[in-house]
């Protein structure tokens, strides 16, 4: 159980974190996402003990660890650059934390072997970091942190140095690893797909604040505001005015399940919730022109006009540029935004 309360941090250059709070159960993965400079790495470093907050507390399993030195907290980090010790073999790199704590030799050996096996590197223990590929380094860095059996594992942009294909397999492995170990993983990323794949919960940050914090699915399906909707996945933002049982938009009256707190505001809808119809649908239908069609293999992305609405459709629909088509803006997919 990790909890951060009212974390603030300022640098001479300005405010980095402004009143950040979050709580996390013991066996969950949290992804902290946001553009570069939003303070997500600083938050991670404060949890790791590599930086002190100006105010606020960090609690781990009910204990206050805000000012506990990094080498005394049961939290380990996988650094963005991996930070493997270049003069030590992989075995010794992984053994480093255990040796620091003077574990008996036989135990060190057994644990390091287990950790290396866990990341499929058991045969390369004698190698040195400069002999490894980026993906292998990443695994070693992971093993080096996990061998210490930390309560919380922190990962700072763990996939940023990997190519797209490798990234996907590492994401899956990371997810499996976390579930089999049942520990808390916190990863910082600016890759929204990574965040959705790996994590149970997502915190979306902007300029030192958490904009929205919740289960991954909720963040994607019910974004609170334009920023979150835009940052995680693609979203159509539609201007709307409150009306009885729905909203009045540029596409006409749209029924929606969301509650509107405003008179005039915005709705969001994901491209996959804009659905193709061969004829006028019963509700939330609108006839538009396909201005651009992008073939993406498993789907086509269509830009509809007027109003630049983006939709996804199956390629077998055969939508061509210039076609007039009927689409339905699914009522369940129309999300009412705060701002």
């Amino acid at each position: 159980m990790l909890e951060a309360r009212g974390i603030r941090k300022t640098h001479p250059g300005g405010t980095i974190l402004e009143d950040v709070s979050l709580a996390l159960a013991g066996d969950e993965t949290l992804a902290v996402v946001g553009p570069s400079g939003c303070g997500k790495t600083t938050l991670l470093r404060i949890i790791a003990g590599l930086e002190l907050p100006d105010s606020g507390t960090v609690m781990l399993s009910g204990q206050k660890i805000t000012t506990l030195p990094a080498n005394e907290r049961n939290v380990n980090t996988v650094f963005q650059s991996y930070a493997l010790f270049p003069h030590l073999s992989l075995f010794e790199n992984v053994a480093f934390g255990l040796r620091s704590r003077r574990f008996p030799k036989s135990e060190v050996e057994a644990k390091v072997k287990t950790a290396l096996t866990m990341v499929h590197m058991e045969k390369l223990g004698d190698r040195f970091p400069h002999q490894l590929s980026g993906g292998q380094k990443q695994r070693v860095a992971l093993a080096r942190a996990l061998v210490n059996e930390p309560e919380v594992l922190l990962l700072d942009e763990p996939m940023s140095a990997l190519d797209a294909k490798l990234r996907q397999s590492v994401q899956a492995e990371l997810r499996q690893l976390q579930q089999s170990l049942g520990k808390t993983f916190i990863l910082v990323t600016h890759d929204q797909e990574e965040a959705l794949t790996v994590s149970d919960r997502i915190a979306v940050m902007r300029r030192g604040r958490i904009e929205q914090y919740g289960p991954a699915r909720e963040i994607y399906e019910k974004p609170k505001n334009r920023y979150v909707a835009d940052f995680l996945g693609k979203a159509n933002i539609i201007k709307a005015r409150r009306a009885d049982g729905g909203a009045l938009t540029d596409f006409g009256f749209m029924r929606t399940n969301g509650k509107m707190e405003w008179e005039e505001g915005y709705l969001a809808i994901r491209p996959e919730n804009v659905v193709f119809h061969t004829q006028k649908p019963a509700v939330n239908g609108v006839e538009l022109t396909a201005a651009e069609v992008f073939y993406r293999g498993d789907h086509v992305e269509v830009w509809l006009e007027p109003g630049t609405l983006r939709m996804r459709a199956a390629p077998r629909r055969g939508i061509a540029k210039g076609d007039q088509i009927w689409v339905e803006l699914l009522a369940s997919g129309l999300v009412v935004l705060d701002e």
């Binding site: 030195p69 380990n76 963005q80 930070a83």
Partner: protein
Amino acid sequence: MNSHLVWYGELTTLRRLLRRGLYFAAPGMIWILLFLALPSLLLIVVSFTTRGAYGQIEWTFTLENFKRLCGFGLYGWSADYFIILFRSVHVAFWTTLICILLSYPLCFYIANKPERSRYFWLTLIIIPFWTNLVIRAYAWLLVLAPQLPLARIANALGLIPEGTPLYPSSFAVYLGMVATFLPFVALPLYSSVEKLDWALVEAANDLYAGKIRVFLHAIWPQTVPGISVGITLTFIPAMGMFVVPDFLGGAKYMLVGNLIQQQFGTSRDWPFGAAVSLALMVLTLVALQLQRKRGKKVEPI
């Protein structure tokens, strides 16, 4: 199609390329040949000749000079030359070590300064280079002179009698040597420290390391390249140094450099001087080789 090839975008032939390389290399090679290789050969030859009655070289070849260097003199065996050689290595070793120990805090201090003031501090380190070594040695004589603060403090502590200078003494020699060679260690070390990857330090801390472990695994390996250059630039010249020990150590503190200088100078015994020089060169090469082997172990950085 004769042997055309593209050399970084330039179409040329192998022959032309080789010829050009020769033209570029020739001046340097000739220079080294004339002023390094030939004199060294001459030195080796001279070390096997005999000193004439008036200090001239007599071309009767003998091993006498080397026997003498090994201690077999006119009056039986003595360890004098060995002591001088050992003392030279000893002084060079401690000078280098002290320089390293002083440079570490200095370099970290400077590297942690804001960028603008770093150059100021680096300039302070470089300033001694703007003055001739002999002048600096004389300056030390003045600093250590009797009645001046340093001598007075030493006197007050009961280390020296009143009215005497702090030289000649081994303290003065080390003071002069360290002052002379500190920049040669500090500057290369600084370049390593400035590039230091602090993520490794954080990783070590994150992995429960104590301060000593952090230094040994996260800082030391990263500074080895700088230290290595520093050692080469300090240890070798320090072994052959003669100005500083001559001025600040007096006759009592003879190093191999002084011995050589004496043979070529006042004693006018060039053959023996050449033999001692040769011994110093061999010693230097051995030291370099040892250091290179040590350096290899930590190469993969």
